[in-house]
Symmetry: C2
């Protein structure tokens, strides 16, 4: 049988994993797809670099165009990262009728619809399971497993670095800075951790999940983003005392046809399944109108988990190739996008306030909430040994974002409130 | 566009859910598959029964053959249950070139390979996502999501009734009999609960998961089965004290090419993700060589979750129909089956013994373990206020099932052991 020929763009950690699986599981692969699968050519940054894997030097090139333009190659696996240059490679590969498997969340979050449209035009497959939550087959699940249902809510722990940091802070009472430093030493966080800790990485992944879940074209700019760099030990202690865990959650929800999507540190009821997801693990919680609560848990990154998803996509492309049906099952968002306004976005809020320690303060504060129609679930005066201020913890009932913004705005002009120390969304 | 016509066998809870989704989501369905999907004919037990759903009486028949033999019908959705008669319907439907979507775990566990072989011969699809773990798309995940990986272990809470009972016993300290009675009143357990509580239902589902995960033809008789009817409050208290939850777990594992598969009440480390799966929820934990730990969680039964899976399968069949590729992606087990012998099956064990309360007893007991090469992780003498016996709790290190059987056999002839009260597998 004629082997299927694959070109690989990038030979970092994940690319190495792809070669390991394709070569190590050749018999299983052949059984499933009906012919051998061969890594034909690999574009690398430097030809001389020492590698963790043996590969014939004749297969290596430092020019990605050599791979894209090789007429022998049927499928491009893109694991080099980057956006603009990479997009050019992918679009030309599609123009040449090659199918694409990519792990590139940045590319798919920014240019997914353009790439999928081009693939449709050329009857090519574009699969990107590995771009979200590494080894967890969540994209397949949203496209096929829940094809019959109406997804109403997706909550994701989709960034391992921040979950590692928050878990450590929670379990060990450590500070953000200390844990970040440790995570950097362990290789769980980048030297410049901004994209992870400020929530941008998670926002890209939520863009992809929201688009698939709601079948509407969610763009990165639609995602409200807040990171974890201002989370304190104290916040986590307060969360625990109230029965919550603090997690960086991507939340995409919808009512009727209106959707909202955000990434923010969120207090999740500790009995909620996603609250127990610790360390570098990822999980995606999906609530479907018919199916109810579901959750998908696993490694969100790493050489082999990510490579598992890539090679699963590769197998799917090869099966389609054998059947002659590539590009015919693409999901193109078909619902017009309707984003919720701040009046329609509604959730519970946790607030930690430093206030003047004198009579009548609580009355003034609760009066402000009442003025903007925000009702309160609980108000606790917390002991504060360190200062002469009093500390007040408030959990609201569901309140619109618009009204909460008004409350917070009003607080700025209220002398008895010395500082709004923390505000978090509350879930579950 | 010509509508796709579906025949439904059975109109109980799940069948009603299928009609609700197909009719309620018609626009979404048409968008996805490119034509309307119509429930054309429905076989029911009694034509006169009052129903929770409106359906034209002209579509109803009390003769399943009317549905099977209707040349207009493309796809049969089987939700009537039963084995022998149902198998005859399915096989004839396949003979007539109709595709099958079924929720019937009993049928698939017993005759899955015969049915899939017939489907292959006739180039028909047979999908059965709903047969295991209701709304959780675990079959898709094993077939497609992890197509690139080597699955080494599957652990499943795949029976909601028993998980509800054990959860209640654990959270409320209630007795098995009391909780079972309550579960029957709530409709979570059948009047005759044998198939659930004795583990047979779970065994059928594990047969299906094992076959797909290991790509070898696991049969129901290969599954060692033990139910929960002898689990006591006391066992659960002891489990908790040692940091475990007691769950009815299906466990399929493999080393190299040798597999073993069982269903039994198991003590799971409380930090393991599956230990937190409570109530009627189901979860399947999958460990893949490359992907590592994953878990899939959701509703294991119920009208709408199960119907979600059925209609997702229906959509997949219709898409294949449009592309002309039905029956070409079936998974046929291709690995020769090698079952582990009792020498090769190995795990930790928990034992609760009633022993004579006198000097030298512990020495005699530990001597027996030593004789059969079973080493011990912990031995605790537990207070026992009620009797004059002493109570000893032992947790072994990994030990072969063969050796543990010898130990237990030897115990029968040991006078100082008055009773082996409990023996459980320990995981995690």
């Amino acid at each position: 049988m004629k082997p299927v020929k694959v070109g690989l763009l990038g030979l970092g950690t994940v690319g190495t994993g792809v070669i390991r699986i394709v070569e190590g599981h050749q018999e299983d692969l052949s059984r499933q797809v009906g012919s051998p699968v061969v890594i034909e050519k690999v574009a690398v940054r430097s030809l001389d670099k020492k590698r963790n894997i043996e590969i014939e030097s004749s297969k290596l090139t430092d020019n990605p165009w050599d791979v894209i333009r090789d007429p022998e190659i049927d499928i491009i696996v893109e694991v080099m990262g980057g956006v603009n240059e990479t997009k050019a490679y992918i679009l030309e590969a599609l123009d040449r009728g090659k199918h694409i498997v990519t792990a590139n969340k940045d590319l798919m979050a920014l240019y997914g619809s353009e790439i999928v449209a081009k693939a449709q035009e050329k009857q090519c497959d574009v699969f990107y399971e590995a771009s979200v939550a590494g080894g967890i087959p969540i994209i397949r699940t949203l496209i096929e497993g829940f094809s019959s249902d109406r997804i109403m809510k997706i909550m994701g722990i989709v960034n391992g670095t921040t979950n590692y940091i928050l878990t450590k802070m929670s379990l060990e009472g450590a500070s953000y800075d200390d844990v970040l430093r440790e995570a950097q030493q362990l290789g769980y966080a980048e030297t410049d951790p901004t994209s992870d800790v400020e929530g941008l990485d998670a926002a890209r992944k939520m863009t992809i999940l929201g688009t698939l879940g709601f079948r509407t074209d969610i763009e990165l700019k639609d995602v409200e983003v807040r990171g974890i760099s201002s989370v304190t030990k104290e916040d986590i202690v307060h969360a625990k005392r109230l029965g919550y865990e603090l997690k960086l959650l991507g939340i995409a929800d919808r009512e009727e046809e209106e959707v909202s999507i955000s990434v923010q540190p969120t207090m999740v009821k500790s009995t909620h399944p996603i609250a127990a997801v610790n360390g570098v693990f990822n999980a995606v919680y999906v609530y479907g109108e018919a199916v109810g609560e579901t959750m998908f848990y696993g490694a969100g990154a790493g050489e082999m988990p990510t490579a598992t998803s890539i090679v699963a996509d590769l197998i799917a492309v090869v099966k389609n190739l054998k059947l002659g049906v590539n590009g015919l099952k693409a999901i193109v968002p078909y619902k017009p996008k309707k984003l919720k306004s701040d009046d329609q976005i509604s959730y519970k809020n946790f607030l930690l306030l430093n206030v003047a320690d004198k009579a009548g303060v609580l009355a003034q504060i609760t009066q402000v909430f009442a003025e903007y129609d925000v009702s309160l679930e609980s108000v606790v005066q917390s002991p504060n040994a360190n200062t002469s201020d009093a500390e007040i913890i408030i959990v609201t009932h569901n309140a619109s974002k618009a009204n909460m913004d008004k409350v917070l705005n009003h607080f700025e002009s209220l002398d008895v409130i010395h500082r709004v120390k923390s505000v978090y969304r509350v879930e579950g």
